[in-house]
Symmetry: C2
Subunit: 492 residues, 2 copies
């Protein structure tokens, strides 16, 4: 066997084992008996130790040295396998194992603290997670302080991206978002939807809409979980959702969001399944898919016009009893604590809050004991009202309990990418709205599959976006889209 | 670290990874999207290859050589780890991987063949499975033909057991079972239960009864699957069941059966969880637990007296409208094709059929092309009527599609063990029936936990039974129990 073939076979087996490890997390959130948490932590730690040993296998160094790639697929694979090997060999096995075990246990601690509004109960494990991630970042960057630490973590989610570039991007966006938000909040808010929405009917409708967006239920499934997420890849790409009786948009739009992630994974060229290329290009690119499904398509007037009919059929007459009223309710800009429920205008402000706080946590400028106050101060400053309880504040998101620092900013980056992609998509599909108004999403989802999703990791993240949009990435399309959409909605 | 401690740490990590691999199978049967079968086969093959590499890790040989056990737990662990290492090093990695991949794919082939009554569709993969298992048996035994091949496979499920010993045991039992069966079938059969039993009510009742038998739902869960099975260990011991609207005993007694397995795993001393000792002692000992829960306890008159009240509450008045009539219906001896639905008298005849056929398949005396005819001929001879379709014949059981040859006889061995255990339990718990009649199973389940389940693999299989019953194993208690019970039921 050629060294390159041996290398690909090794990577394929690693990819399969990573799928198995990922499914342990899915199971933990959806199916696991509650008494199994400690045992599950051991299982996850054992998988992580095994995967770390594979990723640092000395045989890999030899294969990497001898491998001679042929063609673009092998070249891209070699690039990614080399990168992963270089990263993995910098992290001691004991640290990787401890990180995995701590994150697994921290999840239960966070869920309990969140349920009981008990910030103090979460802080010790959060402190430990930050210490472990700082240690990891130091191993990766060779630095013990400074912005290199956060950049090293960010790089896991968004390769080739630096915090200072994101900070500049966000700084350019913020004034226009703040101005737009201020203008909107001077106008009267349209009525929100009200009513009691049968949970089973909500779940039936979310399944129908998931399928309309191209989600293949033969290669996925939808379950209930506290925090909606997508999991897996290729032919086993699962999502979760949650249902609120008084708010049908909670289940609906979190499902469309996760469907965007899952369709990306399902639509990767089958040749790349269970290989080094068989995943989304980066978290930012991933989020561009979930956000364009959820927002640019899912929250558009033509789509909502179709949705109005589906919701009326599912729930009877709505309190927002016309497509225009439903569209206004779905795109309502209002005070809210929860990032995942935020409107398109304010969402990125949530991200900027977390981005700044987590950089300060990792740099050591902010102690966990001061995090709640820092969160609450910043929230008041950015959103104009106070956090009422920790589950609406710093305990609302699962990410930090999983050790995910450097992940949040990729959400805002994904929004910027989604803005660029929507501009290109509208250019290429002039009849887009005629399809959307009938709930027919085949043209845009096919465009995204052909121009972006199919490539998996064959192209680097920024390149896959630029190739799809035929030019450079800027925040302009997103900002123009938001300003145009909300000017019409709020008569600005 | 002492060599012994390093060895135990290695074994603990292997045990955790085995739990993960086992959960892939649970997921495949209960949750997996149907389009993920091929991908799942790759995942299972990757896990199996990784586990095989761990089990044959040269570092293990060194640790085994240097390890000095202290105390009974370490001595037992060393014995089991040594045995597993000796076994694993005899199997080439490629063969282990191919076996796992073929078995995973064969499951789907079997399920389709069973649904479509298509024996021919199943034979090629069955032939391949047998060839692979023969190859495995040859590696293990050092022989290429003769009874050593089957014994090598049997040893995986029932250590220290030989087919000739089982054949002798079965030969001693068969005349009395045949005589009992003949005597019963000369008598009029009592009415079976009839009616339409709401599926949700059945599932509620099965959960209630699972809990009554001591199943801890905080450390397990119950899902629907084609074939009931138990899976996992310790704090994550899951079971599946199936529901038939016209037969409440299908869900009820398959659940009690699987609860017996799962309680065994849940009740292992927590010190042994995720160690080399953290499993049931053997398949035969495991089956003794599922069968004593299901039969000696679950199909007893006092328990059925309690169950009559529960069923009446769940379903309304029954067609068998007294405890005695329900007891007669539950223990009805009648013609039937399906092993898992067989009564206590005929069950072992099903096993003996499979035991003889699979020995012939492995020895090469029987070709797969002749298997259906051989099954059908033997069934007609043993049960007095003809198989009507393959799903009632050779396609009824999942085992062979998973490559499980040598597994079936442990079921009958488990029945013999259950007979011995029940005799000891009745001796130690003279008030047993007073509890059963109130649905209170705490005394017998505690007796089984204290005397058997807690030990896991600390003791060898035969010893754990003999210690619990305080003497040697013989078929006499089982046969006497059956003869007494059915003489009363059928007025013999």
């Amino acid at each position: 066997m050629r060294a390159m073939e041996a290398l690909l076979a090794h990577a394929a087996q690693t990819a399969a084992l990573e799928q198995v490890a990922g499914r342990l997390h899915w199971d933990q959130e959806t199916m696991m008996p509650k008494g199994a948490a400690a045992q599950r932590a051991e299982e996850i730690a054992a998988m992580e130790a095994m995967l770390h040993a594979r990723r640092t296998d000395p045989a890999l160094a030899e294969m990497l040295e001898k491998a001679k790639p042929e063609g673009a697929v092998e070249a891209a694979s070699l690039r990614l396998i080399s990168r992963d090997y270089a990263r993995a060999t910098k992290i001691p096995a004991a640290l990787a194992t401890e990180m995995a075990r701590t994150a697994s246990l921290a999840h239960g601690v966070w869920a309990k603290a969140r349920a009981e509004q008990d910030v103090a109960g979460f802080l010790p494990v959060l402190d430990k997670l930050i210490a472990l991630r700082r240690e990891e970042a130091a191993c990766l960057s060779g630095e013990t302080r400074g912005p290199a630490l956060y950049d090293a973590l960010l790089n896991d989610y968004e390769p080739d991206m630096r915090a200072c570039d994101l900070a500049a991007l966000f700084a350019a966006m913020r004034p226009r978002l703040v101005a737009l938000r201020a203008a909107i909040l001077e106008r009267p808010a349209p009525p929100a939807i009200t009513g009691d929405f049968d949970e089973a009917a909500q779940l039936r409708l979310t399944r129908e809409i998931a399928v309309a967006f191209g989600y293949d239920l033969d290669k996925g499934r939808i379950d209930l979980a506290v925090h909606p997420f997508s999991s897996g890849s290729g032919c086993d790409s699962r999502i979760t959702t949650r249902v609120a009786r008084d708010d049908p948009f909670n289940a609906l739009y979190s499902t469309i969001h996760e469907v965007g992630h899952a369709c990306y994974e399902q639509n990767i060229d089958p040749r790349h399944h269970l290989t080094a290329l068989g995943q989304g290009a980066s978290m930012g690119v991933h989020e561009s898919q979930s956000r364009i499904y959820e927002n640019q398509l899912g929250r558009s007037l033509p789509f909502v016009t179709w949705l109005h009919g589906q919701m009326t059929a599912a729930f009877g007459p709505l309190s927002t009893d016309s497509p225009a009223a439903l569209y206004a309710a779905i795109n309502r800009v209002a005070k809210g604590y929860i990032r995942t429920e935020a409107d398109e205008v304010q969402y990125n402000l949530h991200i900027m809050l977390r981005f700044d706080l987590e950089q300060a946590l990792i740099s050591g400028d902010l102690a966990v004991a001061d995090l709640e106050a820092a969160w609450n101060d910043r929230f008041l400053a950015d959103f104009g009202f106070a956090v009422d309880r920790p589950s609406n504040g710093m305990l609302q998101d699962v990410h930090w309990s999983a050790g995910l620092f450097g992940y949040f900013p990729t959400y805002a980056l994904g929004n910027v990418y989604a803005g660029c992609l929507m501009q290109a998509l509208r250019h290429d599909l002039p009849d887009l709205d005629q399809g959307l108004v009938q709930g027919d999403l085949r043209a845009p989802t096919a465009w995204l599959r052909e121009n972006l999703q199919q490539f998996g990791r064959l192209k680097p993240p920024r390149q896959v976006i630029e190739d799809a949009i035929g030019g450079p990435v800027t925040p302009e399309p997103l900002l123009s889209y938001l300003e145009t959409k909300f000017a019409a909605l709020y008569d600005l």
